[in-house]
Subunit: 334 residues, 2 copies
Amino acid sequence: MRHTQGRTSLLRGLLYLLLMLPLLAQAADPLPAWREGPARTAIVEFVETVTKDGGPGYVAPAQRIAVFDNDGTLWSEQPMYFEVLFAMDEVKRLAPEHPQWRSQQPFKAVLENDHQALAKQGMDGLLKIIAATHSGMSSEDFIARSRNWLASARHPRSGKPYTEMVFQPMLELLAYLRAHGFKTYIVSGGEVAFMRAFAEEVYGIPPEQVIGTTLGATFQDQQGRLSIQRQGKIQHNDDGPGKPVSIDAIIGRRPILAFGNSDGDLQMLQWTKAGQGPRFAGLVHHTDGHREWAYDRKSNVGRLDKALDQAQAKGWTVVDMAQAWRRVYPFEAQ
Amino acid sequence: MRHTQGRTSLLRGLLYLLLMLPLLAQAADPLPAWREGPARTAIVEFVETVTKDGGPGYVAPAQRIAVFDNDGTLWSEQPMYFEVLFAMDEVKRLAPEHPQWRSQQPFKAVLENDHQALAKQGMDGLLKIIAATHSGMSSEDFIARSRNWLASARHPRSGKPYTEMVFQPMLELLAYLRAHGFKTYIVSGGEVAFMRAFAEEVYGIPPEQVIGTTLGATFQDQQGRLSIQRQGKIQHNDDGPGKPVSIDAIIGRRPILAFGNSDGDLQMLQWTKAGQGPRFAGLVHHTDGHREWAYDRKSNVGRLDKALDQAQAKGWTVVDMAQAWRRVYPFEAQ
């Protein structure tokens, strides 16, 4: 009797396990937002290759450096880079202290919501707005301002906080890489302290692994009150060829994996691929006008043209967002 | 009979353990080169305070950033900063390619071993020598040159490789901190790539945790051959107030522990101590003319004057090398 009961329990247990297997497999999938397809396969094969102890492509954990662009790669960048939207909101918030801005470009255009006049000011105008809103205060104060804005501002189309406009598949990819001994970095044209205001909480990337455009700074000692004061001059523009330069200056090792989405990431991807041994270069291709945005060769924001040609010529992984991603944002229904 | 034997074995075992206890305690001491005394006590108490889960001074591992100066703090710096000795040897090695150096200061002084003439060139002359020997090549080539020199050059007094002129107690301290969840950084006036040539092997500090003086650099694409080319202009002088500035720019968090040995470390120590919660500031005081060197307020190399006053006024930990360290170098007999 006892013996029979034992056997029945065992059979029941096995049957239960058998029924649960598909569910268990799903729960164990580290990349549920990635559909089966070439991008997902390339990622998984790369990670398996470099982590296979004794295999021909094995890479020691200390060398597993992975670098990610931010705007358009980890979060959206339409209708405009979110940091520029922050800077424009700051111009409006700070305008009472700067009456001259009412008649001075590019500030006038911002205050009058004149997008055409603002576009005419070009990159120069943009840098003026960044400098005016990102300097003249301590590092700590600037990060607090950035956090205040991120906590209250809402994206014009989705109505969501900007920190929710991040890509679910990329969050999964970051976690998947870290679980396999990778050190994940942001290497972005965004200003470094602005990104540090949310990178740890949102991406799990600590401040010391965020690299970006920098402003000059000075150490200030006001009768014992110490601070780092931000200056209005761009010190390093972390875009295009500036990316491999900052990687070499700050990380001091060549990454084995790089992900971007625009021509500003081209040199970082080239630099990564030019190293010896297995290397991965990926591009997020914004092909999803329904769930996100569709743009590439002709966009003013995040233009993807030369890098797309290179990716196609060299067989880099191009992530067709509409095809490859089951979900785009974390807030979408699963 | 059996019972008695068992009891005898037990007693023997206890006796053995009792006899071994002092040895076991010694084997388990993570800081054997540190003598009992105020410096050792301050270090151990600080680490216990910040790692005691639930205690009033607990600091989460992500915030346990420890920064160390290099010259005079982790290795010796007499009769001259080792990197300057490297640069002087490089001037001699490269002289055949630069015939004009024979009549041009500061190079002439180096080639003629004229230390008096060289001293007259001051810091400006030094920077010219650094720029001439540290630029005009790729990052990878420069690191290879540094490693070649480190492998073959010998210290004029000890006859040892420079990488053996490191302080055993500081190696133990670095390992002790890392074993307690600290991330250890170098923040030094030395040029960053020169330090990266040996920091991982010698100190266990990976390249991405080495911060130092930087030269400008450019990304070069010569018909598909990519490199980072080093320029002759100093971009950031990582000394004095430059140290908290680079810590804020690159780490983005305030350290909770800082160690230096000279006035060039003063602002880094002040910045560290000015944060909230438990903070540790330490100074290596070169008081050991027998085993190492004895110098402080009047030295041209590693002058320790204002920082010593501050340390004494504020109760920072001053490590009296002659008193506090049982061993100075790893190669000394134990």
